[in-house]
């Protein structure tokens, strides 16, 4: 069973986001980049499947050279190979552009399961999993917390509102991983040393036959027009509670007259 795990290199979730000078992207100065946490769950599930049933795990990303740090981390945790689709020289790429590039690369590989985090914590668009399914003409299952293996198919547990939905899909399949009980492992020191010796394959969009200029930057299907931070939170109004009855009256008055929610 061969697994391809697509990982996105995103700003650390602790980052204090600032809007960049263009007004349409974030200021990347001082941002620490990490592998998107949901992708870590996807990688963990793939590694466990490989350990249980054999096969290989390849980590794949679209991004700049710096994103190779994320691929190295994947190799250090136990992935066998790594591929980077180079973003150098490409304008702003939307979900469709990224999915198109990933699909073009995956078509050159023998993948039984294509794994992604259910969403990247960068833009949270949640589009790449279904897009990749369509572009590869494969079934896809989102929000997967657990997977059982059958001959030629998988049984996936989906986390839905207040319940678990269980669906079966034939292989090959695209899986969007949700946070699950299988906590992502730490790399081992042995893995770090071994990962360093491995070659990361780098592909340009043209190598994959994708005319990226026609679908990125100004030609992208989705164009960022403006990025702004949420309004700063207003100061909290505290109602003194020395006299509870009076305080309750005052609270009611404020909710009616000032907040106008009652």
């Amino acid at each position: 069973m061969n697994h391809v795990v697509c990982i996105a290199y995103v700003p650390d979730t602790d980052t204090k986001i600032k809007v960049g000078a263009s007004g349409t992207s974030i200021d990347e100065a001082g941002v620490k980049w990490i592998v998107s946490p949901y992708d870590e769950y996807a990688l963990e599930a793939a590694l466990r499947a490989k350990e249980a049933k054999g096969g290989t795990v390849t980590v794949l990303t679209y991004g700049p050279a710096a994103a190779e740090t994320g691929l190295r981390d994947g190799l250090a945790r136990g992935a066998d190979e790594a591929v980077r689709i180079a973003s150098e020289g490409v304008g702003e790429a939307d979900s469709l552009a990224v999915a198109t590039l990933l699909a073009a690369q995956i078509k050159t590989m023998k993948a039984d399961v294509v794994w992604l985090g259910n969403k990247g914590v960068g833009t949270d668009a949640q589009l790449v999993v279904p897009m990749l399914g369509e572009l590869l003409d494969l079934p896809h299952v989102t929000l997967v917390t657990e997977l059982d293996w059958k001959d030629g198919s998988v049984v996936a547990h989906r986390e839905i509102e207040g319940a678990t939905e269980i669906v079966e899909a034939p292989l090959p399949v695209v899986i969007g991983a949700q946070k699950s009980k299988a906590e992502p492992r730490y790399a081992s020191l042995k893995g770090i040393m071994a990962a360093k010796k491995k070659q990361i394959a780098v592909k340009k969009p043209a190598d994959l036959g994708v005319d990226i200029a026609s679908m990125s930057g100004a030609n992208a299907a989705v164009v960022w027009t403006k990025l702004e931070l949420p309004a700063a939170r207003q100061a909290v109004k505290l109602v003194p509670a020395d006299d509870p009855a009076k305080a309750a009256e005052e609270l009611l008055r404020l909710l009616r007259e000032e907040a106008k929610v009652l």
């Binding site: 602790d14 730490y186 081992s188 042995k190 040393m193």
Partner: protein
């Protein structure tokens, strides 16, 4: 928010990519797995045994060994591991130091093939825990005076005596125990004593106020019968245990910097957010700045000392005297930083919401164990004058 690192002098640039990767892995582990639980562990006097398999999976035990599936790291990378672990807790770092430097090292270096094949993989995987028995109730700085004795009985050895202040003692599956062979004038040899052997007990030291998240025990041997094959064949004399201590003290030289980084970072963050007098942060006060300036300067000097020591160890030019200087200095730095951080935090410096008092209490042990501060002073005194001021045991 993860630990940002303390690097006033761009020392990161003097580390290789691998060394930084190792450091960053352990740093992340400490931030995510150790810091959220360690304050309560220390308060309750509980060793976080649940971390043992996680650290094993990361290859934190015996990481410099190049065999048995272990990564064979260089000594600088090993030092960075102990630095980060001690940034978490000196007790946790002690656990790893003992496992790696005081148990796996002597078995790997002085053990028979059978001893190595049996114990190194088990210790590396955390399936077995080890401890090291040298210090005795009446013999600390002068281990040569030890009273523990092993006497030959046919092919076996009969072990009698007691050890004290043994990290991991009561949770250990194997104890590397140093004893005099034959009688009180006999040569010192190392023995592997296994949990459950008749006559071997390990009562814990009670009411410990320091290193509360690690186990410290006595070891008592009453006619413990050891198979002849349980003696370490590769070394005889006090240089056996002292060579192990050199390894452990090397790690502590880095560990002290880790502890100092933790208390410094906490004091710096606190000073910038705590406001007194006209709503200004106490970091604007000259006396607070003087303390922070002292801390960052001493930490930086300690980092350089540790890094140079590591490079010498990797080059094979490090001597025990070099280790004495770094252990003595860097643990002192940690102790001073813990005290100053406690002052900067005021009353908040004594509660477990901050890591400072735990480090302050821990470092008192580290100041004394693995060669007391004063003994290392005398070793340095002898190194520069050529005159021993006492009768020190020599490796």
């Amino acid at each position: 928010m993860g630990f940002p690192g303390v690097d006033f002098y761009g020392i990161d640039e003097m580390l290789s990519e691998d060394e930084r990767a190792v450091r960053d892995l352990v740093r992340e582990f400490v931030d995510e797995e150790v810091l959220p639980i360690i304050e309560e562990c220390a308060y309750e006097g509980r060793f976080p045994k649940e971390l043992v398999p996680k650290m094993a999976a990361m290859n934190l035990y015996g990481p410099t060994i190049p065999e048995y599936g272990l990564p064979g790291l260089n000594n600088v990378a090993y030092g960075l591991i102990t630095q980060e672990l001690e940034r978490g807790d000196s007790g946790l770092r002690s656990f790893v130091s003992v496992q790696s430097s005081l148990v796996m090292f002597p078995i790997y270096k002085y053990g028979s093939q059978e001893q190595k094949d049996r114990w190194i993989p088990a210790l590396a995987k955390g399936e077995a825990i080890g401890c090291f028995g040298l210090t005795e109730p009446d013999f600390g700085s002068n281990p040569n005076g030890m009273r523990t004795v092993a006497k030959k009985d046919g092919d076996d050895w009969i072990l009698n005596g007691a050890k004290a202040w043994i990290t991991n003692g009561s949770i250990a599956d194997v104890a590397v125990v140093w004893a005099k062979v034959g009688g009180s004038d006999g040569p010192i040899r190392g023995f592997l004593v296994e949990k459950g052997m008749k006559g071997f007990t390990a009562p814990e030291h009670r009411m410990k106020m320091s290193l509360r998240a690690s186990v410290t025990s006595q070891l008592a041997f009453e006619d413990v019968r050891l198979p002849g094959a349980n003696m370490l064949p590769g070394v005889e004399g006090i240089k056996g245990p002292l060579s192990c201590l050199t390894q452990a003290r090397y790690g502590i030289s880095w560990g002290g910097i880790g502890s100092a980084m933790a208390t410094y970072q906490c004091a710096l963050d606190y000073a910038k957010s705590r406001k007194q007098f006209k709503d200004r942060p106490i970091a604007s006060h000259q006396m607070v700045q003087a303390k922070l300036a002292f801390m960052i300067t001493e930490i930086t000097k300690g980092q350089l000392l540790a890094l140079r020591l590591g490079r010498m160890k990797d080059a094979g030019t490090m001597t025990p005297n070099h280790v004495s200087m770094a252990k003595r200095n860097n643990v002192w730095v940690a102790r001073e930083c813990a005290k100053l951080a406690r002052e900067i935090l005021g009353a908040n410096g004594i509660v477990g919401e901050y890591p400072v008092f735990r480090h302050l209490a821990n470092i008192e042990s580290v100041f004394t164990y693995e060669g007391t501060h004063d003994i290392h002073t005398l070793i340095l005194g002898q190194a520069v004058t050529g005159i021993p001021s006492y009768n020190p045991p020599m490796e």
